[in-house]
């Protein structure tokens, strides 16, 4: 019996470790390759620890293309998108959670079903719309949607949080003559900061990782984001794996840093996603 328990425990750790290796190995391989010289990267059997460690891959990769420009472009898009999502999804969510108005259920129902809508359906007409007003090849098509509710998912997430706050709190404030804006700002928002952080983190990642949006809308090289720059890099240096890996690491790093800073919130946020199941 004891032996069997040991065996089971061992098996569990073995599978978990295998999964862990599968998850980490590609990332380790990425970093390792980004620090090697051209000769060592192709050595067989493969070398695991770069020797010498070649940091110059990074400076080389980053100067071949104007990555500084791409970085600034990406940051502009990300900052304004995240801001838009936070401001408009929270205020809309408040309306759905706390205010009663005609048509509320209908609008919320439509919003929820829009989550199932493939983005491919709206991609083309939206693109044509933006090109008719002459705004393609600008950041506006990439930022504007964030300022219009910031996506059904975020509104849904925040609404769930708001519903969990006892109504007595805002009703007391209401009796004291506070309007909705006051209740929202001084009661709901301070109590749901973690939820807002979750939404902020998710929208940061969505904007930072977006590839299709910039690909469709940005045609001028000076307006490229990091993701597009990387794609362009691939076309030019597809055999120079050490440089490609260094460039990929640079694009990946901010996402990883943000993830580790907000790790707790991420887990909480995804957990909540599943709860509607």
């Amino acid at each position: 019996m004891r032996a069997k328990a040991w065996f089971e425990k061992g098996l569990i750790y073995l599978v978990l470790a295998a999964g862990g290796i599968f998850s980490l190995l590609p990332l380790v391989w990425l970093i390792r390759s980004s620090l090697m010289n051209m000769g060592q990267i192709f050595e067989l059997p493969p070398v695991w620890i770069p020797n010498p460690v070649q940091f110059s891959n990074y400076s080389e990769a980053l100067t071949i293309l104007p990555f500084g420009r791409y970085f600034v472009n990406t940051v502009i898009i990300v900052v304004f998108s995240v801001l838009g999502v936070i401001v408009t999804s929270s205020i809309s969510a408040y309306s759905f959670a706390r205010m009663r108005w005609r048509g509320r259920e209908l609008v919320f129902g439509l919003l929820l079903s829009s989550m199932m809508l493939p983005y491919a359906v709206t991609l083309i007409p939206t693109f044509i719309g933006w090109s008719k007003v002459g705004l393609t090849n600008s950041f506006i098509p990439l930022i504007a949607p964030a300022w219009f509710g910031g996506g059904a998912f975020n509104i849904f997430l925040l609404r769930q949080f708001y519903l969990s706050i006892p109504r007595d709190l805002d009703e007391a404030a209401y009796v004291d003559g506070a309007g909705h804006l006051r209740i929202f700002r001084s009661i709901i928002l301070p109590l749901t900061k973690p939820a807002l952080i979750v939404v902020g983190l998710f929208s940061f990642l969505a904007a930072w990782n977006d590839f299709l949006g910039p690909l469709v809308y940005l045609s001028d090289e000076t307006k490229y984001t990091l993701a597009l720059g990387l794609q362009q890099f691939k076309g030019m240096y597809s055999a120079e794996w050490h440089l490609m890996m260094a460039a990929a690491t640079v694009v990946l790093l901010p996402a990883i840093i943000v993830f580790f800073i907000g790790q707790r919130y991420f887990i909480e946020g995804i957990t909540l996603t599943g709860i509607k199941a």
């Binding site: 980490l24 939206t126 509104i155 209401y174 590839f211 690909l215 890996m245 694009v251």
Partner: protein
């Protein structure tokens, strides 16, 4: 609620009505970003796209109404890529959705046992899903390189033959499904949350009867988790049908269109061949396919999804 009681007490019908109107106005005002967003970025484009799908719009001409011509070209096989991309995409969904669910469910179950380092494992499993798709594509292009990649090197060291991976017509979709497996950390966390919600008392009952781990899994864990499996299944299907960036960056739809995913086909029609009308028809067909599949899964759900009584959640 309070607002309603106050207005009911006022007794004055006219004032009551004015109050309701003002209440509506404020409600609409607060929800305005979402309402406008729904109209401008969802409903409007949907209707516009449906209209375009019946025209020969190229993005620069004035569209002429061509009836069902775009749809006819797709379904008649005149455009051979429609059926090809459908087959590729279905194949990918059939491979990636079940493997993704089984893999992440297995990891979640193991993590939910009494293991040390649970949060570390959880972080490690989740980590790949925050990697930007462009970086994922770079990493896997390199790992799966047939001549110099790590994957073939590992296979060779085990005495197994290597693969052409994304450069083989037969192996490209399975390779992309494997890559997809790498990023299922989010699904795993949703499963883990579901597992933690299963009441301990259920397991204790089976322990008293001397049930094994397997019996617990079969009679409690899996039945109790069916709603979560159901949710992940639906989301997996919806996301699986929309794969694009990997194909664009890694394979460009090749070799020989073996990874011509549906959305990539749509992208090509719209942005490389400037056939906006035809691309809109392609988009609407995708929409209908996803609706039908979701409906089918929903319809079968009462046969296998366990719903708790009304008291739950």
């Amino acid at each position: 609620m309070l607002v309603d009681t106050i207005s009911a007490r006022s007794g004055n019908r006219l004032r009551n009505k004015r109050h309701t109107n003002r209440r509506d106005l404020y409600g609409w005002l607060f929800a305005m970003p979402a309402i406008l967003g729904l109209l401008i970025f969802t409903l409007g484009p949907m209707i516009y796209s449906l209209y375009m799908s019946f025209t020969d719009y190229t993005g620069s001409n004035s569209p002429t109404f061509t009836g069902l011509d775009n749809y006819r070209r797709m379904f008649s096989g005149e455009d051979p890529y429609f059926y090809k991309s459908l087959a590729v995409t279905f194949y990918f969904v059939i491979l990636s959705v079940p493997t993704g669910i089984i893999y992440s469910f297995l990891l979640a179950i193991l993590l939910n046992q009494n293991v040390k380092g649970k949060s570390i494992f959880r972080t490690i499993f989740y980590l790949p899903s925050i990697v930007p798709i462009i970086a994922i594509s770079f990493i896997w292009l390199w790992l799966l390189n047939p001549d110099l990649g790590l994957a073939n090197e590992l296979l060779r060291s085990l005495g197994l033959p290597g693969s052409q991976w994304i450069f083989g017509e037969k192996s490209v979709v399975p390779s992309l499904a494997l890559m997809n497996l790498w990023t299922t950390g989010g699904t795993m966390i949703i499963f883990l949350a579901g597992l933690q919600d299963i009441p301990r008392s259920l397991y204790e009952a089976i322990e008293m009867d001397g049930g094994s781990r397997l019996a617990k899994l079969r009679h409690i864990t899996i039945p109790m988790m069916t709603p979560t499996i159901f949710f992940n299944l639906i989301m997996g299907i919806i996301n699986g049908f929309q794969v694009f960036s990997q194909a664009y960056v890694m394979t460009n739809g090749g070799p020989n269109n073996a990874s011509l995913f549906y959305v990539f086909y749509l992208y090509r029609e719209a942005f490389q061949f400037s056939r906006m009308g035809s691309a809109s028809a392609i988009a609407w067909v995708l929409f209908v396919i996803i609706m039908v599949l979701t409906y089918v899964v929903f319809r079968t759900s009462n046969k296998w999804v366990y719903y708790e009584g009304d008291g739950a959640r």
